[in-house]
């Protein structure tokens, strides 16, 4: 670096050397780290590829032994979960089936009316009446209760995880690949260990549904909280509020539309998974569709499918109303 140097600059040359020295140390450290890493990566790659080529890697038996271990040692825990979940689904299903179908369809229609408007309410009423006239009422209510229980559990688990991820970069970094894994793993695969842990019935269906449907709850909670205007959060903190107070009074309410969009996604994913869970004996519309497939009964399969679609539209529009309409425009002005 060529510059003419005044007296002051000459004094500073000493310091400039210090800076240079520090920078050189840094650079040397970086070079060392890069070298070590490269050698390590090459070594591990070669070793593993050689191993894979030479032997069959028994991922299957590993997973199996993990599952065995879990059943042996955490059996009691799984039994407990099983009891709680089946109690929840059963009581909810019972509640849905308690009024006569047309009355219940009317109630669902009124809820739709309250959330979105009269036309939507009327259509919901008609749709549910159609489900009843296809003689699929019990199956539909069973599916609805499975979906709701799974969605509630997914949100209860996903919300705190999302909050944690929003506040902590490390948690966020850890959670993201796990969520990717949960979402991309073919959904059927969850059913296998779920059966082993929880047996046949509605519980393994609910549990695998929770795993499959949870990611949007986590992701959109994190996103919603991170999206809250930085200055608004600063303003809340500047007056001496605790982290919890800021979270509860400012961040969560402002993130609510986004979180509700996540809940909507959770419910949709849960519905699609619950249908698949019909294969493992979770009952409901999934079982109807599955029966149709097994018997090559086009009519039965289509009826089941149509009922699922009606349920899906109803739940989607209902939760979309909660996330959009009322609070959306307010968050926009933040």
């Amino acid at each position: 670096m060529i510059r003419d140097r005044s007296d002051k600059q000459v004094e500073r040359i000493g310091h400039r050397r210090l800076v240079k020295k520090f920078q050189e140390e840094q650079a040397a450290g970086r070079r060392r780290r890069i070298w070590t890493r490269t050698i390590l990566v090459i070594g591990v790659t070669v070793a593993l590829v050689w191993l894979f080529a030479r032997y069959r890697v028994p991922v299957d038996s590993w997973v199996e032994s993990i599952v065995d271990w879990l059943t042996d040692y955490l059996g009691g825990f799984f039994d407990f979960i099983s009891t709680v979940v089946s109690w929840m689904t059963n009581s909810l299903e019972k509640a849905f089936l308690w009024p006569s179908p047309l009355v219940m369809a009317g109630i669902l229609g009124i809820i739709g009316w309250g959330a979105r408007g009269f036309v939507f309410g009327a259509f919901s009423f008609i749709g549910f009446a159609l489900v009843q006239s296809m003689l699929l009422w019990n199956a539909a209510m069973s599916t609805l209760s499975l979906v709701l229980v799974a969605a509630v559990i997914a949100v209860i688990l996903g919300l705190p995880l999302g909050i944690l991820a929003a506040r902590n970069q490390v948690v966020s970094g850890l959670v993201r690949p796990i969520l990717d894994f949960m979402q991309t793993m073919p959904a059927f695969v969850y059913l296998i260990p779920a059966i082993i842990f929880f047996g046949i019935g509605s519980v393994p269906g609910v549990i695998s549904t929770v795993i499959f449907a949870m990611p949007p709850a986590v992701r959109l909670t994190e996103l919603g909280i991170r999206q809250v205007d930085k200055e608004v959060v600063e303003a809340a903190e500047a007056f001496g509020a605790t982290g919890f107070k800021v979270l509860r009074s400012i961040q969560l309410p402002l993130a609510m539309p986004t979180i509700m969009a996540g809940v909507n996604q959770v419910i949709m994913l849960a519905l699609s998974m619950v249908v698949m869970a019909g294969i493992v004996g979770a009952g409901g519309l999934g079982a109807v569709v599955y029966r149709g497939v097994m018997r090559l009964d086009v009519g039965l399969g289509f009826q089941g499918g149509l009922a699922v679609v009606l349920l899906a539209i109803y739940l989607d529009r209902l939760t979309a109303a909660l996330s959009g309409g009322k609070t959306g425009d307010r968050a926009g002005t933040a």
Binding site: L18, V19, E231, E234, A235, E237, G240
Partner: protein
Amino acid sequence: MTKIEVRRLYKIFGRHSFRAYELLRDGAPLDEVKNRLDVVPAVVDVSLDVQEGEIFVVMGLSGSGKSTLVRCMNRLYEPTAGTILIDGLDIVKLDHKELRQARLEKLSMVFQHFGLFPHYNVLQNTGWGLEVKGEDKAKIKSKSLEALEKVGLAGWEDKMPHQLSGGMQQRVGLARALATDSGILLMDEAFSALDPLIRNEMQQQLVSLQSELKKTIVFITHDLNEAMFLGDRIAILKGGSIDQIGTAEEILTNPATEYVATFVRQVDRSRVLTAASIMQEPIAVILAREGPSAALKAMRDRQVSALFVVGPDRRLMGATLDDEVIAAIRRKEPRLDGILHTDMATVDPETPVSDLLITSAESRLPLPVVKDGRLLGVISRVALLQALGETATVNNGADDSDEAAATIDTEETALDPR
């Protein structure tokens, strides 16, 4: 009394921030450290004192570290090194709980984009600080209403922030800060997001509020006009360190560095300079006890067509014009009393120059600057125009042009065409 005492404060962003601080502290050049260590030194070795009850303005362009500096004061940003004493308490060393306490009791803040809570109404927004403090509901409400009253928003408490105009939203921001009764107000570019007209209005309101509240205000701005208008003292920040601290007039008339001088050139001087700062020694003055002949001689000697007449203690009695003096001599009047013009406009030394323009345009004589009846100086039209048009130069340069102004001025008075 010193309210905030900042000593050798550093805030450096980046992975090697502490190492960078150590190097900077030991005198390493800033550019070198910045580039080679890949850090952003936002605040570098800043020391300043803010006196109780003053508006202290920190002024700088974007990236000069001014917002970082103010955020260090309530530790929204953690300083890398240095001390910040508030009422003698070192904010930097407080643990979380003590810091919250300090924020509750001593510091409140107003934000550039208002930082209002969109899901709270005006009243709830205003009461936030008190809610955090854990006051009971009735007290929160009464104090919030009181604060809203102060900023002129009484009757708006049930509105949501998005229903308000920008200026009103910032009033809510101000009310929220006032409601907690904290002694210190940190205002981060509080008026920068507002339209110019609203901004002026808010500035004036802040000044009048301050005259009754006497808070200690740290005001951040990138607008030198705003700084000059509001600031009892101004610190000019460049690249994270302070170029100059002083009153508006000190900075305007005596910029410490070329950088400050460049800024000062853009100032609307009329709002900053006062009559006292541009007035000149009155030379066209005569004592009342001297007669018309002495007056005529003085006019001839000084080549002017009018004189101010003063009594003992330079008490301004009036002015007299050349033709009337000549007439008085013909009438053989021994005294000037008969031909005194006493109805002329006078100005107070504290009057801002902007308010002098009309008075000056309407008056044929230079404006007499008067305090307690005494003539302190005069402002000629030329001096006024020159003060408005003057471009600042560093240090002694400014003095030279003042002298030039003085010479031109005497000529103008002499040639006054009446």
